[in-house]
Assembly symmetry: C2
Homo-oligomer: 228 residues x 2
DNA sequence: ACCTGAACACCGTTCAAGT
DNA sequence: ACCTGAACACCGTTCAAGT
């Protein structure tokens, strides 16, 4: 699909025309990702996107209905980078860990997409649907009852989205400053955190929470069979 | 604190002046909340905020450095609505559930504040620090080792933030549409979800994930004593 | 069908000038 | 110290006009 995106389909037009700027969803997605890589999401404006594609901003609206549509294109592209290969190969708990780590790491670098993933229907997001299909099959193979799979996946995803934010939290996010004397137990707990500051904090909390949720899901589930 | 916000402190000025529009953090917070209640976060602009306070937009910048500061004021105010009263009264697991439900429900109605909570330091956010102090004391009372309390709280919060988004997801978010035939297992799991569509889905996933994480934290913790 | 150019209705923020 | 008024540098989006 989309393989002929670069091929002009109007060869019957007479020659001698100025070269046509052939826009497409694929080219828009690629250009958007390049802008984000260079300048972050503040650099992803419709004007900048159009400029990078050598068209007028209004030309974009022949291919997307809104900037939200552009974000959905980028989101779906990135969902293809989430590693689902462990499902059906590794034991369920291990596969979930690999998937969750990959999922969090991909979107920790794309925080503005989290509301897009969390709130927009998956319709016309093929890579996202493919990801969910692989995950569902992994749960089914582990004997998960099918009426609770989506709830379990949603719970895990909720934790993953929140954890993606946490990756980007500054090291001093829990520094109470001058108000520390009024919250002595909290301030002490922050100080006594295993390795306070830095990204290792986010990893410690993520690993702890993920292990806990996986263990809890295993304990409360009514799975029929198990590949572990 | 802030009790004299409405009282003019320049009584020595001679009379006969036009009435002064006394701005303050408290008045800005209240006006911002009112705008959000009326129109949502799209209605919270610096211009609208200024208008509702009968000042020029530029006047706001004598009290806040940016719109982010306004959002932080609102966030801290709302954090005071999170119910922490169960800590030290109910058993730990029950107290966490009450706190988590309250926390999620407060911010499900204020999604744009989630990046603010997740990424901005708690310095000068007194209600937020007060909330963390109560939670920390609840964990300590349940025998939680102090070097793992913050990680556990961060893990729970990450899940809460993601779940707040999920409350606002449309009922058809997992409708694959025309792509359903390419993801048969996923589409079937969506159909077989206990009560597909509506907000009860979000509640089912939230309850499942929260129970799992609490059970998992209890199982893997090295708590010394326990009030349960 | 797809693009251009101009315009529209906004944003958050700055700053000289007032009192 | 705190406010006004004007301006700045943007945004996303629309639409008549072209080819």
């Amino acid at each position: 699909m989309g393989s002929a995106a670069g091929a002009p389909t109007h060869a019957r037009r007479r020659a001698g025309r100025p070269p046509q700027a052939v826009l497409s969803s694929a080219r828009i997605t690629k250009a958007a990702l390049k802008l984000v890589s260079a300048d972050g999401y503040k650099g992803l404006t419709m004007a900048a996107l159009a400029k990078s594609l050598n068209v007028a901003p209004s030309a974009l609206y022949n291919h997307v209905r809104s900037k939200q549509d552009v974000l959905l294109l980028v989101e779906d592209h990135l969902m293809g980078r989430v590693d689902v290969t462990a499902f059906g190969v590794e034991p369920w708990a291990e596969a979930v860990k690999i998937w969750a780590h990959s999922y969090r790491n991909v979107f920790a670098a794309h925080l503005p997409l989290i509301p897009v993933i969390a709130l927009l229907p998956v319709t016309n997001a093929p890579a996202t649907i493919t990801m969910y299909e692989a995950v569902t099959k992994g749960f089914l193979a582990a004997g998960w009852p099918s009426d609770s799979i989506i709830d379990a996946v949603v719970a895990l995803e909720s934790f993953i989205y929140g954890s993606a934010y946490d990756v980007n939290a500054p090291a001093d996010i829990f520094d109470a400053g001058s108000l520390a004397p009024q919250a002595p137990h909290f301030a002490a707990a922050v100080t006594q955190r295993s390795n306070p500051g830095g990204q290792s904090d986010a990893n410690a909390a993520f690993t702890l929470g993920l292990s806990a949720m996986i263990a809890g899901l295993l304990a409360t589930s009514t799975r029929v069979s198990d590949t572990e």
